[in-house]
């Protein structure tokens, strides 16, 4: 029951938000986000009470073809549900400072997106998973299309359209793959799919049908070309949703729906994926160094980070899996913090161009401190969340192949180069006409940063509690992946 409540509350609140009119929309939306977060805390209690055995809800939905409305919460799902439930109200809160045109539509789309995302992370029936996967795409398409802030509308439409077509193209092949495995298994239930025995040839083709959908969403090199422009053109709340939560859909799906379903296909194609992922890591980092646009720099850095997570998942080791989950969670916090900082800078100076900025620290010390902590977290300084994640990821990669881990390890150095240089150029030095009157953080903005920073250190200092919760589900997935 609690599962259903958590899943459907965003939908209910999306409707309420729309009906409440433009003036109250944001308050209702925030309330909705917080209620869902509360539900999510109860979910955690329930899961712990259940000795980490999955919480399940199954109800027959369609008799022919056989599809059930099956939800499942285990440690892994809960991690991502919690990430969503925490970030969505926070993202809603970041938009409080400004007037949003047609606010009721905007906020109800955000909550609708939350509904889709929660569904993706909870579904344990392939068909249901697919529906939620697509459902999450529609709201973000409209958010990015209609509320983007850049002047060049035609360019934005093209960029967002590309994003839509790209991701939809990927998912349609996933649909084909699901239809195919349904014919083989006679069911969409995840347990039946895990126990399928497909031939190696089938698995090797199915692997790509699934992987394409996930790789585009993540994105993995060379399927990333939609990403930088989409991040840049979306309104900042949209970018946070995309980078903070939506790309985790792809990573989560790799763990839940790819590795255990077609293990032999994975075995066959792992070297290719590894190479692509590591290319992505290095390529993203190098391009990030050369970026002048703050949002694009962050987009490429995010691209590099998820490349490393993908590589970690495909090591098929305990450490790789753990690192991936920690880093998914950590990346959500860090990237939202970074994009929020970029948004604050844009609000006050009207630019994302790094070259035009400088000296903000002298006029806005609180902002400088918060931004610094988030930057350090994203370059994986010890005691921050990303350190645990990247350390485990690189360790897993080392177990898989020494050389790959050495190359991928460069990301830490390169990451430090572009992030710190960005920080230096934006925050340090002399103030100029744009930044001289930079207002420091107000309490609302400070509150967002404080919440994020608490999260950053909590995972960074005491990761063990977190890890023990996801361990059972990761063990299960690893067992099926190595069968």
């Amino acid at each position: 029951m609690l599962l259903l409540l958590t899943l459907f509350l965003p939908l209910v609140f999306a409707l309420l938000t729309y009906l409440s009119g433009n003036r109250f929309a944001k308050y209702i939306a925030l309330l909705g986000g917080l209620v869902v977060f509360t539900c999510c805390s109860f979910l955690k209690l329930a899961l712990v009470h259940n000795n980490l055995a999955p919480l399940v809800f199954v109800h027959d939905w369609i008799s022919n073809p056989h599809i059930s409305f099956a939800l499942n919460i285990d440690g892994l799902s809960l991690t991502l549900v919690a990430l969503t439930a925490f970030l969505v109200p926070l993202i809603i809160f970041t938009t409080f400072r400004k007037e949003i045109e047609n606010a009721k539509a905007f906020y109800s789309l955000v909550l609708l997106m939350e509904f889709g995302l929660l569904g993706v992370f909870m579904a344990s029936d392939g068909f249901l998973f697919y529906i939620f996967w697509e459902l999450a795409l529609i709201p973000i398409y409209f958010i990015a299309l209609l509320w983007g802030e850049n002047k060049d509308a035609a360019f934005r439409h093209r960029a967002i359209f590309k994003f839509f077509v790209y991701t939809l193209a990927g998912s349609l092949f996933m649909l084909l793959a699901f239809i195919y495995v349904y014919q083989a298994a006679g069911s969409f239930a995840i347990a039946d799919l895990y126990n399928l025995n497909l031939t190696d040839k089938e698995q090797s083709v199915l692997f790509w049908a699934f992987f394409l959908a996930f790789a585009i969403k993540i994105p993995v090199f060379p399927f990333h070309t939609w990403q930088p422009d989409t991040y840049k053109e979306s309104p900042s709340a949209g970018t946070m949703l995309l980078a903070g939560i939506m790309l985790k859909m792809g990573l989560y799906a790799l763990l839940r729906w790819l590795l255990p379903v077609v293990p032999h296909g994975v075995m066959l194609w792992t070297p290719v994926v590894m190479v692509l992922a590591v290319i992505g890591v290095i390529y993203g980092s190098i391009i990030a160094i050369k970026q002048d646009d703050l949002k694009k720099l962050l987009a490429y850095s995010s691209f590099a980070h998820v490349g490393l997570i993908t590589a970690g998942i495909f090591t098929l080791t305990h450490e790789g899996f753990q690192g991936a989950v920690v880093q998914m969670f950590a990346h959500g916090f860090n990237v939202v913090g970074l994009f929020f900082a970029a948004e604050i800078i844009f609000q006050r100076t009207g630019t994302h161009s790094i070259a035009q900025l400088g000296g903000i620290r002298t006029v806005a010390p609180k902002f400088a401190t918060c931004f610094m902590i988030v930057v350090l977290a994203s370059v994986a300084l010890p005691t921050t969340n990303a350190f645990i994640g990247e350390f485990l990821l690189l360790y897993g990669l080392y177990e898989y192949n020494t050389w790959l881990s050495v190359i991928a390890g460069l990301t830490i150095i390169l990451g430090a180069v572009y992030m710190l240089r960005m920080y230096q150029n934006v925050m340090l030095g002399e103030t100029n006409s744009l930044t001289a009157n930079f207002e420091d953080l107000n309490w609302k903005e400070l509150a967002v940063f404080v919440l994020l920073i608490i999260g950053i250190f909590e995972i960074g200092i005491v990761p063990s509690q977190f890890l023990s919760m996801v361990q059972p589900s990761l063990d299960l997935i690893l067992n099926y992946s190595l069968r």
Partner: protein, 456 residues
């Protein structure tokens, strides 16, 4: 059977009402009549009877499709009231012809005999020829009527020739007899030639490539309400007849023609889609997208070995309902702005959020985005095609689905991101009702597809 009789009677009543000077009442009578017939139709569920020596078969297939067609007929009738408001003196004629079109369609989903089948096709087509050319002073409507008539009668000729050949070989018009003959003996080349001719005329009627050339011009030139009938009622009835004919009578001639079916399917989906990309008239775009939808339905036809009637029904339902919503909105926009171009939709999101949202949902359903009915329809058709071993055709269909997003979203983009001058905009309650009801059905069938999947 009863459905067909009552509907014909209602058509006659409409014509008589004209004489009795009941013009004002005729629309409510027609709508109420069709609703009652819809209800009576449902009571035939599960009856499986035949009438007049197998002339008409009433089974679940015919009841389900009749229900869908009657529902679409109610929508069309509701829209007709306002659509023909400038020609109020002729409203009873128009309504009578619309209802006769429906009779033809009903005959097409319930025939058990080639004679009945031909009769259905002709009643449907002749009514539509008249409606297509019904704007006497509009050159394009004249052209559409003429073109449709010439091409249609040509196809009917081929159909009749095919039926004659089949009769010459089997000595019967009865589907059951034909089927028994074909499976018991080795049919000669005459039989195959006859079946091939019937196939060609059916492909023409459902506007499958390469027999689709008439469709865009006819769709564009005809009055929009008539276009809506061609795209929904006529196409769905033709597909139901297509399925019935080939699954009842010609299943044994299927193998030699399998490659024809595959080629036609691939061609129809692709040609329809890629031509739709560059259209700037909304009606023309819908015409081409309708061709590609015919291609998806063909995927169901080529898998008919595996009993795909339910998938075809579901897809027809989703396609018919979303088309109906799209055409209704197109009529409203054309009435207010006098244009059928996609540009006419500019800024609709600000002016009429309800219409814009409804059209967005209709377009997303056609593009196959969950949780709308169109998605489940596509899923169902694809999954039946894969089950019957048409993997590569399905892959092609999937690629085409991706392409189709481009033109469906073009309208959505126009509505939400382009600006337009403020003009007065009126929306009649009948239109709001039809559009709202269609959207509701799209959600309902998308979220609870089980309501329709277990039917046949």
């Amino acid at each position: 059977m009863n459905t067909l009789i009552y509907t014909s009677a209602l058509g006659l009543l409409c014509m008589l009402a004209e004489m009795a000077n009941l013009r004002k009442l005729i629309l409510p009578i027609a709508v109420a009549g069709l609703c009652v017939i819809f209800g009576l139709n449902i009571t035939d569920w599960g009856k499986n009877t035949t009438y007049y020596h197998n002339m008409v078969l009433t089974d679940n297939f015919s009841v389900a499709f009749s229900g869908l067609l009657l529902m679409l007929g109610v929508f069309i009738t509701l829209l007709a009231g306002n659509f023909y408001k400038n020609e109020e003196s002729k409203i009873s004629d128009y309504l009578a012809i619309i209802i006769f079109t429906l009779c033809g369609a009903l005959a097409l989903v319930s025939f058990g005999n080639m004679a009945m089948f031909f009769l259905g096709i002709e009643v449907l087509s002749i009514s539509l020829y008249i409606l297509a050319g019904s704007k006497k002073k509009d050159v394009r409507s004249n052209e559409a009527g003429m073109k449709y008539f010439l091409m249609g009668s040509f196809a009917s000729g081929i159909l009749l020739f095919g039926i004659a050949l089949i009769y010459g070989e089997t000595g019967s018009f009865d589907l059951g007899v034909i089927s028994n003959y074909a499976s018991a003996t080795h049919p000669t080349v005459l039989f195959y030639a006859g079946a091939g001719m019937i196939l060609i005329s059916m492909l023409f009627k459902v506007s499958a490539a390469p027999f689709h050339f008439w469709a865009p011009d006819v769709y564009e030139g005809s009055p929009t309400l008539t276009t809506a009938m061609m795209a929904t009622i006529a196409k769905i009835a033709a597909f139901a007849a297509f399925y019935r004919l080939f699954s009842h009578a010609f299943i044994s001639v299927f193998p030699p023609y399998a490659w024809v079916f595959s080629a036609v399917t691939a061609l129809t989906i692709t040609v329809g889609n890629f031509t739709a990309l560059n259209q700037d008239s909304f009606k023309r775009m819908l015409a081409f997208s309708g061709i590609s939808h015919a291609g998806y339905l063909m995927l169901g036809i080529i898998s008919l070995y595996g009993k795909t009637d339910n998938a075809i029904f579901f897809y027809s339902f989703a396609y018919g309902i979303s088309s109906m919503a799209a055409f209704a909105i197109a009529i409203v926009v054309a009435m207010n702005l006098g244009s059928e171009k996609i540009e006419a939709f500019n800024g609709l999101g600000k002016r009429k959020p309800f219409l814009a949202a409804a059209l967005t949902i209709a377009m997303l359903s056609m593009a196959g985005i969950p949780p709308l009915a169109g998605f489940f329809g596509k899923y169902y058709i694809f999954s039946e095609a894969i089950r019957n071993g048409h993997l590569w055709l399905t892959v092609l269909a999937v690629i085409n689905s991706i392409v189709s997003v481009y033109y469906y979203l073009k309208v959505v983009l126009a509505m939400y991101t382009k600006e337009s001058p403020e003009t007065a905009f009126t929306l009649k309650p009948a239109y709001s009702f039809v559009i709202g009801f269609c959207i509701l059905l799209l959600f309902l069938a998308g979220i609870f597809p089980g309501l329709l999947t277990g039917l046949l």
